[in-house]
């Protein structure tokens, strides 16, 4: 459980970005990501403009750089993969600091790094300014597949319950002298994971019964209907619109 009960990705605040309706922010971030991906990789300056746009959003939302950087760790596996590309890439080679690297690989690595980083930062900003619950209400409002929204909602609700159960199982294992040190201990851990799965499955069945008992008939009733004023849509559209203008310019220049 995150400190103070808030989700670790969320940073409470009351800025314009925080107050925007989630159903406006979600498509704005998605559109921004699509525009970034559609930008030709040779247009270095365009990526600079995107980064500046995100920095502006972060400044308005009062999200400090350190907060963003720590959460960007999630991108690491992609970074490692991107660094491999110039080494294993084929085609024309160039010498960089005494290493013979593939030119095509370098371009591919830059392409992945730049676009993934911008997408990750945009998502972190979205998560930092939108409570997880609001995100789901926004998704519901956008008429995303209701079953998927419900699954995400239950995950959010039961994450802590399941983590707590896992912690109790670990305490029970360790109370009987079990400490996982090497591969030979994997079977015991695998059995715990299996037991965990069955317990969660059974809980799912009980929750379903509780839902049926209160008149559930396949679809979640809309309890909080968040209507977004037109102004909210216009404000949210600023980011993707500015990005799109940049992209159009970059296409016409290349």
């Amino acid at each position: 459980m995150g400190a103070g009960g808030h989700h670790q990705l969320y940073r409470p605040g009351g800025t314009v970005v925080h107050r925007l309706a989630p159903q406006c922010k979600l498509p704005a971030v998605a559109a921004f990501a699509v525009v970034v991906v559609a930008t030709p990789r040779e247009a270095f300056w365009a990526f600079g403009v995107y980064a500046l746009l995100l920095a502006a959003v972060a400044a308005v939302a009062r999200v400090p750089a350190g907060f963003l950087l720590r959460r960007m760790v999630i991108e690491l596996p992609f970074v490692l993969f991107a660094f491999l590309l110039p080494v294993i890439g084929l085609g024309e080679r160039v010498d960089v600091l005494g290493l013979s690297l593939s030119a095509e690989g370098l371009w591919a690595a830059w392409n992945i790094l730049a676009k993934a980083t911008l997408g990750v930062v945009a998502s972190i900003l979205l998560a930092a300014t939108t409570e997880p619950r609001m995100m789901l209400l926004g998704a519901q409002r956008l008429r995303l597949p209701p079953l998927l929204v419900q699954i995400a909602m239950f995950m959010l609700r039961y994450m802590d319950v399941i983590l707590d159960e896992m912690r109790r199982m670990r305490v029970a294992r360790e109370s009987r002298g079990f400490v996982a040190r090497d591969v030979r201990h994997l079977p015991a851990l695998a059995k715990s994971a299996g037991a965990m799965f069955i317990r969660s499955y059974e809980r799912g069945e009980r929750v379903h019964l509780a839902m049926l008992s209160r008149g559930y008939s396949g679809s979640m009733p809309v309890i909080d209907d968040l209507a977004a004023p037109l102004g909210s849509w216009v404000t949210a559209a600023l980011l993707p619109t500015a990005a799109l203008a940049t992209a159009v310019l970059s296409w016409s220049l290349t």
Partner: protein
């Protein structure tokens, strides 16, 4: 003028699970409006199976269940589930929405309520269980006792005819246990309480039933049933050490 039908009438209810295990062998229960009744029985007596029949989650193999005169059938299911408020043993199973308010609103919203009317139901139900002002908290941040009371509120919001509680006192500390008892006593609703906590039955219910091996083995005043050690022992029920029935 027709007399008010009983809140619950179960007649000759029998049920076997799909694997052939017979759980109920002809159960007859009548509970009048406004009564508070305890359903006692050891583990495995069929208590949970019986409860699942009361709102149509399981359908009777034989016999009938009527709630305030309305038989439990496929076409009456929606109204039956409004009339029967089932409170499950583990509040984490019962409270599945992200906030208390949404959870309490879930039932009435399924009945088609929206807006201020729905808001009013939520406020009313939370006040009935003595927890106004926690509407916007997520359920997992509440104490266990509070969660149990919110679970009661989620069904009270549907204004049920009968409240059915599965082991309401389990895992509660003494103070939470007393607070829940105060809430239950203050409600103007028929209550069926499934439990093997005999002192709790004594405290809250004038009448008790013993369900044992799939039949009703005893039906009478709680005070008398608990004062009959032979009857209790026969059905694997025991008073806690030092407890004397009738002494209050």
């Amino acid at each position: 003028m027709t007399p008010t039908p009983p809140s619950l009438r179960v007649s000759e209810l029998a049920y076997a699970y799909p694997d052939g295990t017979q759980a109920l062998f002809g159960v007859d229960i009548t509970i009048g409006a406004g009564e508070r009744v305890a359903l006692l029985g050891p583990n495995g007596a069929g208590k949970t199976t019986l409860v699942m029949h009361l709102n149509g989650i399981l359908t009777a193999g034989h016999g009938t269940v009527e709630v305030a005169g309305l038989p439990v059938r496929k076409d009456t299911m929606k109204e039956i589930r409004r009339r029967v408020g089932l409170v499950f043993q583990d509040p984490d199973d019962q409270l599945f929405m992200p906030t208390v308010r949404e959870d309490v609103a879930f039932g009435p919203a399924n009945l088609g309520m929206r807006g201020p009317e729905l808001e009013e139901r939520v406020t009313e139900a939370l006040e009935l269980v003595g927890l106004p002002g926690i509407a916007d908290r997520p359920p997992h941040h509440l104490s266990f006792g509070q969660r149990r009371r919110v679970a009661v509120a989620t069904v009270l919001a549907m204004r049920p005819e009968i409240l059915v509680l599965d082991e309401p006192s389990s895992n509660l500390d003494p103070a939470s246990r007393r607070e829940l008892a105060e809430v239950l006593r203050s409600l103007d609703v028929t209550v069926l309480m499934v439990t093997h906590d005999l002192p709790y039955a004594m405290e809250l219910c004038e009448r008790s039933l013993i369900l044992s091996d799939g039949v009703i083995a005893a039906d009478g005043a709680t005070r008398e049933i608990l004062a009959d050690p032979e009857l209790l022992a026969k059905h694997r029920l025991e008073l806690p050490f030092g407890f004397v029935a009738g002494m209050r």
